[in-house]
């Protein structure tokens, strides 16, 4: 069994994107998801340093973060907006359609790369939410002060909530149009993994590895009727630059 905070941090970084994406799907709010994930990390640091990393750390984090999010929504439910979020527990109406592909991280990726967001905000948000990079690391990569990057990410998250940017993979008809923006962001995430800007190891396998189709399920360029050239480009982006 692994012990120590380094092991916990490594597991957390590996699981972060999957964790955030599933929490956003469940609670429909990026801020609630990010806070719950942070609280789950604190719980993991306390618990795992005593008893070691559990056999399924991802599942442990998902359940713990889910419980923390529920606690938080219950605590704040007197406020109107939170009340609506809490209503989701006893809401019998079916889920909103989530698009043709069942993958939480892919859905969150399409939300982060929505054309209504500024291109630099799309990349930053993807690195933050799905790549699990810190704001400082992203600011370093963009050569801007950390406060600037923090504002950019906060502003993008506020726009997603206020303007109701949907959380789904677009329907087949719009998929080819939207795919270009997603691929551009994936390429830049790959670059960050390939030649990391932060301290330490220049190759960040956890960022490069996430671009692999075996990890993300079917590649996004699967709509019927989409050109074969598109699929080839998507596959190329999954492999990374030649």
């Amino acid at each position: 069994m692994q012990r120590g905070t380094a092991a916990v941090e490594r597991v957390f970084r590996e699981e972060y994107g999957r964790l955030i994406a599933s929490l956003v799907r469940r609670f429909g709010d990026i801020d609630i998801a990010a806070e719950a994930a942070g609280e789950a990390l604190v719980a993991a640091l306390e618990k795992w340093s005593e008893s070691g990393v559990p056999p399924n750390p991802g599942g442990w984090l998902t359940i713990t973060a889910g419980n923390r999010a529920i606690d938080r929504i219950r605590r704040e439910k007197q406020r109107d907006a939170k009340h609506q979020a809490a209503f989701m527990y006893h809401d019998d109406t079916p889920h909103e359609p989530t698009g043709p592909i069942e993958d939480d991280r892919l859905r969150l990726l399409f939300t982060c790369c929505h054309p209504a967001l500024a291109p630099e905000a799309r990349i930053a948000l993807t690195l933050r939410l799905l790549g699990g990079l810190t704001v400082a690391e992203i600011a370093h990569a963009f050569l801007v002060p950390e406060t600037t990057m923090a504002q950019r990410i906060t502003r993008a998250k506020k726009k997603i909530a206020a303007a109701k940017v949907p959380y789904r993979v677009p329907a087949a008809a719009d998929l080819t149009e939207r795919l270009g923006g997603v691929l551009a962001v994936l390429f830049l995430v790959f670059n960050e993994g390939y030649l990391a800007t932060g301290d330490g190891d220049p190759v960040r396998a956890e960022l490069n590895g996430r671009g692999h189709p075996a990890d993300t399920g079917p590649p996004p360029a699967a709509p019927r009727g989409a050109g074969g050239g598109r699929s080839a480009r998507a596959a190329a982006a999954h492999r990374g630059p030649a």
Partner: protein, 120 residues
């Protein structure tokens, strides 16, 4: 459902046929906008819409002091001003953006999409 304000932006200075170029083109734009409005009604997205008189007819009122101050002209002197607007009620931003594209094509102007922070 979320309410969105779609504002049409066009040149402040207009000639005889607005910014449409000719009487025929203006007629076509009016017809296309009418058809788009009918579609908003039938699809259940319609809340409100209207075209505005030229920006030169605007008056700005500042009632923050003890006595209100009225000023002739628009709040911002710009080359492009709001020419009209729609208020629609849609499930999410993607639907609002699709409708904005249709409205923009129909009325021949750029459309800004902005969510409401609730309605009074």
């Amino acid at each position: 459902m979320t309410h969105y304000l779609l504002t049409v932006h066009g040149p402040a200075e207009m000639d005889e046929y607005g910014n449409y170029g000719s009487k025929e083109e203006m007629g076509e734009a009016f017809a296309a906008t009418g058809a788009f409005n009918d579609k908003l009604h039938s699809d259940g997205y319609w809340v409100f819409a209207g075209g505005l008189q030229p920006a030169s007819t605007a008056t700005v009122v500042d009632g923050q002091g003890e006595t209100p101050v009225t000023t002739d002209g628009p709040y911002l002197e710009t080359k492009e001003v709001i020419g009209g607007c729609w208020v629609i009620d849609t499930p999410d931003l993607d639907v609002a953006l699709r409708l904005a594209a249709e409205g923009s094509k129909a009325c021949r102007g750029k459309v800004e999409v902005r969510p409401f922070d609730g309605l009074a």
